[in-house]
Protein backbone atom coordinates (compact mmCIF):
# COMPACT_ATOMS: atom_id res chain seq x y z
CA UNK A 1 0.00 0.00 0.00
CA UNK A 2 2.85 2.31 0.95
CA UNK A 3 4.67 1.42 -2.28
CA UNK A 4 1.54 2.11 -4.32
CA UNK A 5 1.13 5.56 -2.80
CA UNK A 6 4.83 6.27 -3.32
CA UNK A 7 4.57 5.34 -6.98
CA UNK A 8 1.55 7.57 -7.44
CA UNK A 9 3.43 10.43 -5.77
CA UNK A 10 6.49 9.81 -7.97
CA UNK A 11 4.31 9.79 -11.09
CA UNK A 12 2.59 13.01 -10.01
CA UNK A 13 5.86 14.84 -9.32
CA UNK A 14 7.43 13.54 -12.57
CA UNK A 15 4.41 14.79 -14.53
CA UNK A 16 4.68 18.21 -12.84
CA UNK A 17 8.40 18.48 -13.71
CA UNK A 18 7.73 20.22 -17.02
CA UNK A 19 6.59 23.83 -17.64
CA UNK A 20 4.33 22.88 -20.59
CA UNK A 21 2.53 20.22 -18.57
CA UNK A 22 2.07 22.64 -15.67
CA UNK A 23 0.66 25.23 -18.12
CA UNK A 24 -1.76 22.61 -19.53
CA UNK A 25 -2.97 21.78 -16.01
CA UNK A 26 -3.39 25.49 -15.25
CA UNK A 27 -5.59 25.88 -18.36
CA UNK A 28 -7.72 22.89 -17.38
CA UNK A 29 -8.49 24.53 -14.02
CA UNK A 30 -11.11 26.66 -15.80
CA UNK A 31 -12.86 23.67 -17.41
CA UNK A 32 -12.50 20.88 -19.95
CA UNK A 33 -10.71 21.55 -23.25
CA UNK A 34 -10.07 19.77 -26.53
CA UNK A 35 -6.49 18.87 -27.52
CA UNK A 36 -6.64 21.56 -30.22
CA UNK A 37 -7.65 24.21 -27.66
CA UNK A 38 -4.88 23.07 -25.30
CA UNK A 39 -2.27 23.12 -28.06
CA UNK A 40 -3.18 26.67 -29.26
CA UNK A 41 -0.99 28.77 -26.88
CA UNK A 42 2.11 26.61 -27.40
CA UNK A 43 4.50 26.73 -30.32
CA UNK A 44 4.38 22.98 -30.54
CA UNK A 45 3.25 20.26 -32.93
CA UNK A 46 0.07 18.37 -32.07
CA UNK A 47 2.04 15.12 -31.53
CA UNK A 48 4.28 16.93 -28.99
CA UNK A 49 1.22 18.23 -27.09
CA UNK A 50 -0.40 14.77 -27.29
CA UNK A 51 2.73 13.26 -25.75
CA UNK A 52 2.49 15.66 -22.78
CA UNK A 53 -1.20 14.78 -22.42
CA UNK A 54 -0.36 11.07 -22.32
CA UNK A 55 2.13 11.69 -19.48
CA UNK A 56 -0.54 13.65 -17.55
CA UNK A 57 -3.12 10.94 -18.27
CA UNK A 58 -0.84 8.09 -17.13
CA UNK A 59 -0.12 10.00 -13.92
CA UNK A 60 -3.89 10.28 -13.40
CA UNK A 61 -3.76 14.10 -13.40
CA UNK A 62 -6.15 14.38 -16.34
CA UNK A 63 -8.90 12.25 -17.80
CA UNK A 64 -9.94 12.16 -21.43
CA UNK A 65 -13.56 11.73 -22.47
CA UNK A 66 -14.32 8.52 -24.39
CA UNK A 67 -17.79 9.57 -25.54
CA UNK A 68 -17.20 12.57 -27.83
CA UNK A 69 -15.19 12.56 -31.06
CA UNK A 70 -13.01 15.43 -29.74
CA UNK A 71 -12.20 13.57 -26.49
CA UNK A 72 -12.18 16.55 -24.10
CA UNK A 73 -9.48 16.65 -21.41
CA UNK A 74 -10.45 17.37 -17.84
CA UNK A 75 -8.55 17.70 -14.61
CA UNK A 76 -8.44 14.94 -12.01
CA UNK A 77 -7.88 16.67 -8.68
CA UNK A 78 -7.07 13.73 -6.39
CA UNK A 79 -3.38 13.02 -7.21
CA UNK A 80 -2.58 16.74 -7.07
CA UNK A 81 -4.14 16.96 -3.65
CA UNK A 82 -2.10 13.98 -2.45
CA UNK A 83 1.11 15.63 -3.64
CA UNK A 84 0.11 18.88 -1.91
CA UNK A 85 -0.56 16.91 1.28
CA UNK A 86 2.90 15.32 1.13
CA UNK A 87 4.48 18.79 0.89
CA UNK A 88 2.16 20.15 3.55
CA UNK A 89 3.26 17.46 6.03
CA UNK A 90 6.78 18.93 5.97
CA UNK A 91 5.84 22.58 5.68
CA UNK A 92 6.36 23.30 9.37
CA UNK A 93 9.98 22.17 9.07
CA UNK A 94 10.77 24.41 6.09
CA UNK A 95 9.06 27.40 7.59
CA UNK A 96 11.09 26.99 10.80
CA UNK A 97 14.26 26.63 8.77
CA UNK A 98 13.55 29.75 6.73
CA UNK A 99 12.61 31.68 9.88
CA UNK A 100 15.87 30.65 11.57
CA UNK A 101 17.82 31.73 8.48
CA UNK A 102 16.06 35.09 8.60
CA UNK A 103 16.91 35.51 12.30
CA UNK A 104 20.52 34.54 11.64
CA UNK A 105 20.86 37.04 8.80
CA UNK A 106 19.35 39.84 10.91
CA UNK A 107 21.65 39.05 13.86
CA UNK A 108 24.77 38.74 11.72
CA UNK A 109 24.30 42.07 9.92
CA UNK A 110 27.32 44.14 11.04
CA UNK A 111 26.43 46.96 13.44
CA UNK A 112 28.11 49.51 11.15
CA UNK A 113 25.83 48.56 8.25
CA UNK A 114 22.76 48.85 10.49
CA UNK A 115 23.87 52.28 11.74
CA UNK A 116 24.42 53.46 8.18
CA UNK A 117 20.85 52.48 7.33
CA UNK A 118 19.47 54.47 10.27
CA UNK A 119 20.88 57.76 8.94
Amino acid sequence: MMALTSDQLSNTFAALADPTRRAILARLMSGERSVTELAAPFEMSMPAVSKHLRVLERAGLIERGREAQWRPCRLEAKPMREAAQWMESYREHWEQRLDRLGDYLRQSTPRAARNRKKK
Copy 2:
Protein backbone atom coordinates in the same frame (compact mmCIF):
# COMPACT_ATOMS: atom_id res chain seq x y z
CA MET B 1 12.84 35.47 -14.96
CA MET B 2 9.71 33.45 -15.61
CA ALA B 3 11.74 30.78 -17.42
CA LEU B 4 14.23 30.63 -14.56
CA THR B 5 11.48 30.05 -12.00
CA SER B 6 9.93 27.42 -14.25
CA ASP B 7 13.24 25.58 -14.53
CA GLN B 8 13.73 25.66 -10.79
CA LEU B 9 10.21 24.31 -10.30
CA SER B 10 10.82 21.56 -12.90
CA ASN B 11 14.08 20.59 -11.19
CA THR B 12 12.37 20.51 -7.79
CA PHE B 13 9.48 18.32 -8.98
CA ALA B 14 11.86 16.01 -10.91
CA ALA B 15 13.97 15.58 -7.77
CA LEU B 16 10.85 14.78 -5.72
CA ALA B 17 9.73 12.14 -8.24
CA ASP B 18 11.56 9.33 -6.45
CA PRO B 19 10.66 7.60 -3.16
CA THR B 20 14.32 7.27 -2.03
CA ARG B 21 14.97 10.97 -2.57
CA ARG B 22 11.80 11.88 -0.70
CA ALA B 23 12.89 9.59 2.18
CA ILE B 24 16.34 11.28 2.24
CA LEU B 25 14.71 14.72 2.44
CA ALA B 26 12.43 13.49 5.24
CA ARG B 27 15.48 12.32 7.23
CA LEU B 28 17.23 15.66 6.73
CA MET B 29 14.26 17.47 8.30
CA SER B 30 15.63 16.49 11.73
CA GLY B 31 19.12 17.89 11.04
CA GLU B 32 22.27 17.45 8.98
CA ARG B 33 23.55 13.93 8.23
CA SER B 34 26.62 12.33 6.65
CA VAL B 35 26.23 10.30 3.46
CA THR B 36 26.90 7.12 5.47
CA GLU B 37 24.09 7.99 7.91
CA LEU B 38 21.73 8.76 5.04
CA ALA B 39 22.58 5.51 3.25
CA ALA B 40 22.03 3.31 6.34
CA PRO B 41 18.23 2.68 6.09
CA PHE B 42 18.35 1.86 2.35
CA GLU B 43 19.39 -1.42 0.77
CA MET B 44 21.55 0.45 -1.66
CA SER B 45 25.21 0.88 -2.57
CA MET B 46 26.95 4.09 -1.54
CA PRO B 47 27.36 5.14 -5.21
CA ALA B 48 23.59 4.75 -5.72
CA VAL B 49 22.86 6.92 -2.68
CA SER B 50 25.49 9.46 -3.80
CA LYS B 51 23.76 9.67 -7.18
CA HIS B 52 20.45 10.55 -5.49
CA LEU B 53 22.25 13.16 -3.37
CA ARG B 54 23.72 14.74 -6.50
CA VAL B 55 20.22 15.05 -8.01
CA LEU B 56 18.97 16.70 -4.81
CA GLU B 57 22.01 18.99 -4.71
CA ARG B 58 21.64 20.06 -8.35
CA ALA B 59 17.96 20.86 -7.70
CA GLY B 60 19.10 23.01 -4.74
CA LEU B 61 17.07 20.92 -2.26
CA ILE B 62 20.16 20.03 -0.22
CA GLU B 63 23.54 21.60 0.40
CA ARG B 64 26.73 19.73 1.25
CA GLY B 65 29.29 21.13 3.64
CA ARG B 66 32.69 21.96 2.14
CA GLU B 67 34.51 22.39 5.44
CA ALA B 68 34.38 18.97 7.09
CA GLN B 69 35.90 15.76 5.72
CA TRP B 70 32.52 14.00 6.02
CA ARG B 71 30.71 16.74 4.03
CA PRO B 72 27.41 16.77 5.95
CA CYS B 73 24.18 17.14 3.95
CA ARG B 74 21.60 19.67 5.02
CA LEU B 75 18.21 20.68 3.74
CA GLU B 76 17.68 23.84 1.69
CA ALA B 77 14.09 24.89 2.35
CA LYS B 78 13.55 27.56 -0.31
CA PRO B 79 12.92 25.47 -3.49
CA MET B 80 10.55 23.19 -1.57
CA ARG B 81 8.58 26.20 -0.38
CA GLU B 82 8.35 27.52 -3.94
CA ALA B 83 6.97 24.18 -5.15
CA ALA B 84 4.46 24.16 -2.27
CA GLN B 85 3.42 27.70 -3.24
CA TRP B 86 2.84 26.64 -6.85
CA MET B 87 0.54 23.84 -5.66
CA GLU B 88 -1.11 26.12 -3.11
CA SER B 89 -2.03 28.65 -5.83
CA TYR B 90 -4.29 26.02 -7.43
CA ARG B 91 -5.55 24.39 -4.27
CA GLU B 92 -8.87 26.23 -4.30
CA HIS B 93 -9.65 24.77 -7.72
CA TRP B 94 -8.96 21.16 -6.71
CA GLU B 95 -10.84 21.49 -3.48
CA GLN B 96 -13.88 22.83 -5.36
CA ARG B 97 -13.61 20.02 -7.86
CA LEU B 98 -13.39 17.36 -5.16
CA ASP B 99 -16.30 18.97 -3.28
CA ARG B 100 -18.44 18.99 -6.44
CA LEU B 101 -17.59 15.33 -7.05
CA GLY B 102 -18.64 14.52 -3.47
CA ASP B 103 -21.96 16.38 -3.93
CA TYR B 104 -22.57 14.57 -7.21
CA LEU B 105 -21.90 11.15 -5.67
CA ARG B 106 -24.22 11.89 -2.75
CA GLN B 107 -27.00 13.10 -5.05
CA SER B 108 -26.65 10.23 -7.49
CA THR B 109 -26.75 7.47 -4.86
CA PRO B 110 -30.00 5.59 -5.64
CA ARG B 111 -32.72 6.21 -3.06
CA ALA B 112 -33.09 2.43 -2.52
CA ALA B 113 -29.42 2.11 -1.56
CA ARG B 114 -29.72 5.03 0.88
CA ASN B 115 -32.86 3.51 2.47
CA ARG B 116 -31.08 0.19 2.84
CA LYS B 117 -28.29 1.94 4.77
CA LYS B 118 -30.79 3.56 7.15
CA LYS B 119 -32.11 0.20 8.39
